[in-house]
Symmetry: C2
Subunit: 407 residues, 2 copies
Amino acid sequence: MEFFLFLRMPNVSTRGLEMPASPIRKLVPFADEAKKKGKHIFHLNIGQPDIKTPKVMLDAVRNFDLEVLAYLHSQGSQSYREKLSKYYASVGVDVGADDIMVTTGGSEALLFGLFSCLDANDEVVVPEPFYANYNGFSRSGGIIVKPITAKIENNFALPPIEAFEQAIGPKTRAILICNPSNPTGYLYSEEELLQLREIVLKHDLFLFADEVYREFVYDGKKHKSVLALSGLDQHAILIDSTSKRYSACGARLGALVCKNKTVIATAMKFAQARLSPPTFSEIAAEAALETPASYFEEVVEEYIGRRNLLVEGLNKIPGVLCPNPGGAFYALVRLPVADTDHFCQWMLESFDYNGKTVMMAPGSGFYSTPGLGKNEVRIAYVLNKSDLKEAIECIAKALEVYKEVEV
Amino acid sequence: MEFFLFLRMPNVSTRGLEMPASPIRKLVPFADEAKKKGKHIFHLNIGQPDIKTPKVMLDAVRNFDLEVLAYLHSQGSQSYREKLSKYYASVGVDVGADDIMVTTGGSEALLFGLFSCLDANDEVVVPEPFYANYNGFSRSGGIIVKPITAKIENNFALPPIEAFEQAIGPKTRAILICNPSNPTGYLYSEEELLQLREIVLKHDLFLFADEVYREFVYDGKKHKSVLALSGLDQHAILIDSTSKRYSACGARLGALVCKNKTVIATAMKFAQARLSPPTFSEIAAEAALETPASYFEEVVEEYIGRRNLLVEGLNKIPGVLCPNPGGAFYALVRLPVADTDHFCQWMLESFDYNGKTVMMAPGSGFYSTPGLGKNEVRIAYVLNKSDLKEAIECIAKALEVYKEVEV
């Protein structure tokens, strides 16, 4: 009997097998290995900024004075949602506390939103390259991502309306955008948003908009929310997060915002199943709303400086193409290599420049059309200028050495 | 055009429509309304104890001294997982840090586990009554719950092995138990666990065990983990949480523990998509492992006192049947009413005794066989003895009055 026991083993699910590994995190074991060997790694692979979290946020948690760390309301506390509603008013979005559901990160907001609106085998149209985990969340619910491709030569602007029309079929239930975009940094113009509104209303689709980088727009541009467009109250679903806004990625606190009451009521059932968002995190997030405007002014100035350094530095390297991002803190960059999955792993495993190397996210993971993005990487300019400069030099050096390896 | 816009509205998903509302939280709007009217509510509906969270946990967060609230490793930090592995050794479970995945609550552990092991339309056999949200997590992934019924007359012991054999079919991939049980408080004997092992190995199924109440077992009984049974390394998946153990429900920090490396690797893809567990919560949970043994001794003594008070008090009420739970802090109680959904709502909306009333969780939500549990409620004995006594009196009074209403 005992022998028999060890021969058998149940299989994991097809859903699990098909779940894509995160392009942002799948190289972590190689990075861990490199660190063990004493290499310093510049982490440009992940949107984890080195910017300080506002002190008011951390202090609120340090001053926690209750004796029981209790559950919150499944939708998030009333006081936080009321304050959030005022915050949204300040960015041109008119929503009440009841239109807001507090979630465990933007990730959970998107998961609840997708699961509430789409069934297995339903389709969501997503301009690619897109934030890799959209694929994971969709896949976990059997939802099919229909990509339409934005081009690096066009600075990753919204694909033409005809591309949407071609992608939309009888199973299409939603369009999902990220604005400003992770991974490209592209900021949609109001004209592009109005085009999206037209498509959404024509086909009666939900419009999901991940707007977690709202505060980070550059060159005098202005961000416009999908919830600030008239006529979309029943269709627009805003995904939000405190992670990037306050450099508080570890809080894992986000929000789903929607004026369609049926969507909120449906999402509530998913929210109740997981009981509540994390209490410490909500305390921090509520305090975060008192962050002074000067904080954002300084941070935006810092990101502009980093972006300029990155775009200029990378475009000087032969064969590299780095578009100029209008927002967020990412750039999707074309490199003169055939396979960035291999190149990025090689940089961790086999390369260093003065004991240092750079971790980047291979581009292929941000596309769902097979074969695309293989010569691209996503770079998060989340490190200070001095580190960023060294990292750019390191990439330049690596590309030189890799030429010999690749052949 | 504008008029046309307001006529259309996309539909939510069938998945969302079919998602069950939580029996524990669905009456919250009625409770909120009652509170507005000045009624005091004894919350016996939810496993939110009034027991103090260990100070060492809260202090660890109060002493947070970093300037950036950063992401953690998707699997949870190495240091915490190493300490957890020592904790598990102390309860007879031999697992390494790599066999542990830190999750956002036990909820997420179960979600990742189910999604990693079961596809849509696969079946999981669950002894009912069961923790209501098992239904929700399964439903959200298209997984079908096959209930086998445990009987109140039998103190909710494990149903006979023949019932399992009848329920298991070609689509069955797993069995899911909760031990000690939420909502019944039943503690499985070692003999029952060995029966489960036999079934699981015979049919090559995964065995999920939610053991979050492990520390709370009474009357000299001992808890045994499914991971402490030999021969189940590839089959057993342990769901764990800090919520109940440390009265820290708001932490939302749990773990998935499994020696099957393929399961952990698959769950990692789901974990990477949501980035990481909440950082403050993990800091608290890591510190929690230093909680002195005396804390649990006191808490267990307190729960035994409450249980005795509840069981004795309820069984004195005419027509009420309250089995004696061997663990956790719940009892599933039969009341002399036809529809506890109506009764529980009525207690919030239309009843009070000296300005006070009791909130309980209707039993129907803990069964998936339609029609069962309609004369049962789940009571969580999470309030101090003085409150609990008042609550029992209030229930007795309510049953008297309701007799007139119901007829």
